[in-house]
């Protein structure tokens, strides 16, 4: 075999390996399969119980109010700090200013206490995959651990995943009254609108409190 031929074959091998790696990386970066768009939800929650006496009208365990500090989702290899998010001047929810940090919406209950706690994270942001890039891969029963300022970790189990067009975002289902300690994880999904620079849909994971540990 001539020297030039050897060089050429080595180059070919290197290119082939590099190509194969690129395709593997590409497969890894393939968008996550998303749930189908969910039909607009029915009437909002109303408490079912009507009897008097000492019965409680809420269900499940409830924790006192305490702000979240960190969120861990083993199924997605997520373990990130949590910051507070308010509203933008136009009334929309603020979002984290980096791809990794997860935001807790401060104008809703704290995670583990009665009502819907809301966490938002990017699917991608400024060239990096976001913490919630694979949120759509969550399955019912997957655990979400939220560490709180009072030292208690609230563990939630995923109930379901929904996908909604942003212009038909179901405020009642996500932010409305519920009779238990709930959690909603929000990120983006669906088609991307190049003109607006935004995704058309939001993906929402609904979860409820199962345990609390100190």
């Amino acid at each position: 075999m001539t020297r030039s031929r050897k060089v050429a074959l080595v180059a070919a091998a290197v290119l082939a390996i590099a190509g194969a790696i690129a395709i593997v990386v590409g497969r890894h970066d393939e968008p996550v399969a998303e749930p189908p768009r969910t039909a607009p939800p029915g009437p909002p929650f109303s408490a079912p119980a009507t009897r008097s006496g000492t019965d409680v009208l809420t269900t499940g365990r409830l924790l006192p109010t305490s702000e979240p500090t960190r969120v861990r989702i083993p199924a997605l290899h997520v373990d990130e700090a949590v910051i507070g998010l308010g509203q933008n001047p136009d009334g929309s929810m603020q979002v984290p200013t980096d791809a990794h940090t997860v935001g807790w919406y401060t104008k809703a209950p704290t995670p583990g206490s009665l009502g819907p706690a809301v966490l938002a994270g990017h699917v991608n942001y400024r060239g990096a995959d976001g913490t919630f890039a694979r949120l759509a891969m969550l399955r019912p029963g997957d655990r979400i651990m939220v560490a709180r300022q009072d030292g208690v970790t609230a563990t939630f189990a995923v109930n379901r995943l929904d996908r909604y067009p942003k212009d038909q975002f179901p405020a009642d289902a996500v932010y409305g009254a519920i009779d238990h300690a709930g959690l909603r994880l929000i990120t983006c999904g669906g088609d991307f609108d190049d003109r607006s620079g935004h995704y058309l849909d939001n993906i929402v994971a609904y979860a409820s409190l199962v345990t609390a540990d100190r």
Binding site: I23, I83, D90, T106, K107, L114, Y175, A177
Partner: protein
């Protein structure tokens, strides 16, 4: 990708320090179901909303109350973590068939805030019927008021879910008004130095139990959690990978062809 992530991490961390919003208190809206007491036949719903300014917005809608009559209403309970609840008829210790306000107190606690229509909201205004809401001729009552944080006892917002709304005023003798013929004179009013107030006016008709909670302020529309900046990455990688494989194949083909041609020439 890794490198890009690391490079971005530094400015992102700096931005985070600047952008971290401060949350004084979680705005939230506590939903309360008003359940009948003393077989009043009344029912209702209420929401207690803690605003970001530390104020408390109260909204009550009840029906089936004594018509055209004022209904004293309060937040009962405390911030000491006592496990108060709504009483049932077993709280009627004097056995007159009605749980009086005093008989209910071991269950729902003392008056914590008086839900007056204007002015003072302390326990002292508990029987200020001239500043209490009045039911309409159909017995419907609407109440909306925001009480400033400064006027609330300390810990009210933090213990919102532990407090019980109680609306008073029953009609024992079914004549659509409060009168002494119903249940006699109010022992509660008497102990407060007011004589001649009917017991019907002070016995509780509704007691609120927390049924749920919601966001205190709902954001407009969806959430902008993505800028699409990595959505085409898979395509780019596939493209690069495909090109590299094609190039490798091309090199192999050309090399083999050249060696074949060379071999023939040499021969």
């Amino acid at each position: 990708m890794r490198i890009r992530r690391t490079l971005l991490a530094v400015p992102a961390a700096a931005a985070l320090l600047l952008a971290t919003p401060t949350a004084a208190l979680a705005d939230e809206s506590v939903h309360v179901k008003l359940l009948e007491l003393n077989n009043s036949g009344a029912s209702g719903n209420a929401t207690l909303t803690a605003t970001s300014g530390g104020d408390l917005r109260i909204s009550i809608r009840s029906t089936g109350l004594v018509p055209n009559s004022p209904h004293a209403q309060h937040l009962h309970g405390s911030t000491t973590g006592m496990d108060f609840h709504c009483p049932d008829m077993s709280a009627d210790t004097n056995g007159n068939g009605y749980v009086s306000t005093e008989e209910g107190m071991p269950a729902y606690g003392d008056i914590f805030v008086s839900l007056t229509t204007k002015g003072d909201t302390s326990k002292a205004s508990g029987l200020a019927v001239d500043r209490m809401p009045t039911a309409d001729p159909e017995g419907n009552l609407r109440y909306d008021r925001t009480i400033a944080g400064a006027d609330l006892p300390p810990g009210t917002i933090e213990h919102l879910k532990d407090l019980h709304i109680v609306e008073h005023g029953v009609d024992a003798n079914d004549n659509d008004k409060y009168d002494l013929a119903g249940l006699g004179e109010s022992t509660l009013a008497k102990s407060a130095g007011l004589s001649g107030i009917p017991e019907e006016a002070t016995d509780p008709a509704l007691c609120g139990m927390v049924s749920g909670a919601a966001a205190g302020s709902v954001p407009v529309g969806g959430v902008a959690t993505g800028d699409g900046s990595t959505r085409d990455e898979a395509t780019v990688w596939y493209g690069a990978g495909g090109l590299a494989l094609l190039a490798a194949l091309g090199i192999v083909v050309v090399t083999r062809r050249r060696s074949y041609v060379l071999n023939r020439v040499q021969r």
